[in-house]
């Protein structure tokens, strides 16, 4: 009997907070609401930290540590328990979720102080924490799916938080519907797992795989199918090609939401799910290959789209999509621990970037267009410094966190049979682009001159998505006190300390967070990988091509021959160089000679327009999927089936009885002689029938 850690309390505490605030919060004062929300989140974090501490490898508790509360669903031989699963992977996830989540809760106290629906916001935020923790702690796919759907719900509620704004309500719906498409594939994947394994419990599924008594001829196609279904589910939640379109629109939500849900935690659920299912993916080399390709495409695609965005949050949104692409790529080359490592560092620096952007938006009174910003370096120094740290971190410049995780992914890609030099080169190019657009954001926001309200942004007038962007620009009501402070430098103010404190903590984490994974060739020990190794190696090794010499999950841990070391240094050097080149170009374009971008964009007008319009993907989806579906629903389902068949049946029954009654009514004339005639005819008919019977007998 191992120690009972009461893991159920970790997700349940935020749920209690959500329930209290959601049901009673309307009558509470704001301070009370934030106290409740923070208390329960902090308790959850503390409990998680204690549980992780207690179960730390070598503490005597065997990992994975499973706690089952009871049976949830039983159907025939299949049953799904309410069970929680703590291993090295969920330890990292649970700490990231509760830790970053708690910091963002603190930040929100300041950020949302002037908003309506304060209690609603915190109730939703706590609800999100509950579902996210259920997702990462579940011990079977079904319970994970509950969390998976629940975070989608919370995301929908929070994106549409300013529900009076049409664009926010639409963005919420879009996020939910696009996610449903992926969820559908996830469901199919689960059905396949049930069919093949008869259980959805992790230990059951992975145990059977580890035992290895699977008939390859029957199993491998099936594994590929399962892996592809799970992967498609992950592309929805983790905003990968082709389902990434909801994430940029999700920026309609309040900025802390973007930071928590759409950067640090929820969108990483897909990565977590793939890493959790690594045993299945390892048996499906084709699926791994596809995961790698999708991640690679997403990374470069989103990075280029980020180049032309002018909304500060949208730049970060595309950057998130791109970074998630990196994590996908890591999973695709079976370097799951590198993916999780990047997930962790990304949670730090991207949450910091979003919160920093929120602080900037707060400072300039709701403005989100970077072209109207500038020169904020002196006005909001703390925000400037923390955003600087995060920018360096995401650009992959050592010794900041992003460098180590990104380098580890790129190194794994280079050596993996599913990656190779081409995909590696694309990854490095993406790193350069990342560095470019992030420093572009940095220079545009903090350097130059403040142009609030003075710059006439004319080009939006002829861009088709002008309404969408214009709504951002005019969304000054996202800050209640915005209107009186917009104009003049005097209005720009540093955020309160309740917002800055989480920023500073995250900045520290963005700086040192990568040090836990310093690769061996640099003299580190790559603790993350060693920490995760028991999880990632419990399954079979990657099937298929010869990977024995470069076992993708452990090649860093292999002995450091001088040759290897030189190669690693070269690879790392390449990605750092890409980052520095990006920095240089951003410096050139947006600081040294700001007229350069204009000249270049006017020369390459076609490409620029295409990038500005995000490759017309939204428009394409609209034309290919949405419009035909709408037409089908309107013409066939609505007018044809609903109005024609169903309404036709109901109305037809009424009309028929009315018609028959109308005819029969004529007989009820009140005229005695016509009644008599009917009686006579009836009698004659009966007599005639009897005569006929007698004759024919």
């Amino acid at each position: 009997m191992t120690k009972n850690l009461h893991l159920w309390a970790i997700p349940l505490l935020p749920l209690v907070g959500a329930a209290i605030n959601g049901l009673l919060g309307r009558r509470f004062k704001n301070a009370m609401v934030s106290a409740i929300a923070l208390l329960f989140t902090a308790a959850s974090f503390a409990w998680a930290a204690w549980a992780v501490w207690s179960a730390w490898p070598g503490s005597g508790i065997a990992l994975p540590h499973i706690e089952t509360l009871g049976t949830w669903i039983t159907a025939g031989s299949f049953s799904a328990p309410f069970g929680f699963y703590l291993d090295q992977l969920s330890m990292i996830m649970v700490l990231v979720v509760t830790g970053v989540g708690f910091l963002i809760h603190i930040y929100s106290v300041g950020y949302m102080a002037h908003e309506g629906g304060y209690y609603r916001f915190f109730a939703y935020l706590n609800l999100f924490m509950f579902f996210m923790l259920t997702l990462v702690l579940a011990n079977n796919y079904l319970l994970m799916f509950v969390g998976w759907e629940g975070v989608g719900l919370a995301s929908y509620l929070l994106i549409g938080f300013f529900f009076l704004k049409d664009s926010a309500a639409d963005a919420g719906k879009k996020a939910f519907i696009v996610n449903r498409i992926g969820d559908f594939a996830f469901l199919i994947g689960m059905f396949l797992i049930i069919q093949h394994f008869g259980t959805l419990n992790y230990d059951g599924v992975f145990g059977k795989i580890a035992e290895g008594h699977l008939a390859p001829e029957a199993g491998w196609g099936l594994f590929t199918a399962i892996a592809l279904c799970l992967m498609f589910g992950a592309t929805g939640k983790s905003a990968q090609v082709p389902l990434y379109v909801w994430l940029p629109d999700a920026m309609e939500g309040p900025t802390p939401v973007s930071a928590l849900i759409h950067a640090a935690t929820m969108v990483t659920a897909g990565i977590y799910m793939i890493a959790r299912s690594h045993a299945i993916f390892n048996l499906a080399p084709h699926a791994l290959q596809i995961v790698a390709i999708i991640g690679c495409i997403t990374a470069i695609f989103a990075a280029t789209m980020g180049l032309a965005q002018t909304d500060i949050k949208r730049v970060l949104a595309y950057s998130t999509v791109s970074q998630l692409g990196y994590m996908f790529l890591a999973c695709g080359v079976a370097a799951y621990s590198a993916g999780i490592f990047h997930l962790m560092t990304h949670a730090f620096f991207k949450a910091l970037l979003f919160l920093g952007a929120g602080s900037v938006i707060h400072a300039v009174g709701g403005e989100q267009d970077m072209r109207r910003m500038g020169g904020l370096r002196k006005l909001i120094p703390v925000t400037f410094w923390v955003v600087t740290i995060a920018t360096i971190a995401i650009a992959g410049i050592p010794p900041f966190a992003g460098f180590f995780s990104k380098d580890e992914i790129l190194g794994a890609v280079f050596h993996s049979p599913y990656g190779g030099p081409v995909i590696w080169a694309i990854g490095v190019l993406t790193a350069g682009l990342t560095s470019f657009y992030m420093f572009r954001l940095w220079f545009m926001t903090f350097f130059g001159e403040l142009k609030l309200g003075s710059v006439d942004i004319g080009e939006e007038a002829h861009s088709p998505h002008a309404p969408a962007q214009a709504s951002h620009v005019t969304a000054s009501h996202s800050h209640g006190h915005a209107d009186d402070e917009v104009h003049g430098h005097g209005g720009v103010h540093e955020s309160p300390w309740v917002m800055l404190a989480p920023l500073v903590i995250l900045a520290v984490l963005s700086f040192v967070g990568g040090w836990v994974g310093v690769p061996q060739f640099m003299g580190g020990h790559n603790e993350v990988e060693h920490f995760l190794a028991p999880v990632m190696q419990s399954g079979p090794a990657v099937a298929g091509e010869a990977v024995s010499d470069h076992d993708a999950t452990t090649f860093h841990a292999g002995e450091a021959t001088p040759e290897n070391t030189r190669e690693e240094w070269l690879l790392a050097g390449a990605s750092v160089a890409a980052g520095l080149i990006g920095l240089f170009f951003a410096y050139l374009f947006y600081y040294k000679s700001p007229e350069l971008p204009e000249r270049i964009t006017s020369k390459m007008h076609g490409i620029y327009t295409m990038v500005l319009h995000k490759y017309y993907v939204d428009e394409g989806y609209g034309a290919i999927f949405v419009k035909p579906l709408l037409a089908l629903s309107t013409v066939v389902l609505w007018r044809g089936v609903d109005q024609g068949v169903i309404d036709g049946l109901v109305n037809g029954a009424g009309a028929a009885s009315q018609g028959v009654g109308n005819e029969l009514r004529q007989m009820q004339s009140g005229n005695i002689r016509s009644y008599a005639a009917w009686v006579a005819i009836g009698g004659a008919a009966i007599v005639g029938y009897m005569i006929w019977l007698g004759v024919t007998r």
Partner: protein
């Protein structure tokens, strides 16, 4: 001896006259008399059959030969009662409508 068919034909003619009178006439008194005519046409066929079966051997021993004549008495009693009620109704209708034309008595209320 008059054959059965003649009685029946006469009965049919009388019944048809009753029906036609009922359908075609408008005066309630005439209609009432047509009803009596029909009843009596039926009575005629009853007694005709009764007479016939009392003079011919009956295959079915359970059959009582004179039952037709008994039925006639029942019919006559009912007809007498009906005449009493019917005439009362006619008088009542005439008092309120001041007409005996059935086409003008076509509502279930007065």
């Amino acid at each position: 001896m008059v054959p059965l068919s003649w009685y029946l034909i006469l009965s049919g003619i009388l019944f048809s006259l009753g029906v036609l009178g009922f359908l075609l006439k408008r005066n309630i008194i005439t209609i009432f008399m047509s009803i009596e005519l029909m009843l009596n046409a039926v009575n005629l066929s009853f007694v005709a059959f009764a007479n016939y079966w009392s003079t011919h051997p009956v295959a079915d021993k359970s059959m009582i030969p004179l039952s037709g004549q008994v039925f006639v008495f029942f019919v006559m009693v009912v007809a007498a009662a009906e005449a009493a009620v019917g005439l009362a109704i006619i008088i009542s209708v005439f008092r309120t409508r001041e007409t005996l034309n059935v086409d003008r008595v076509n509502l279930l209320k007065l």
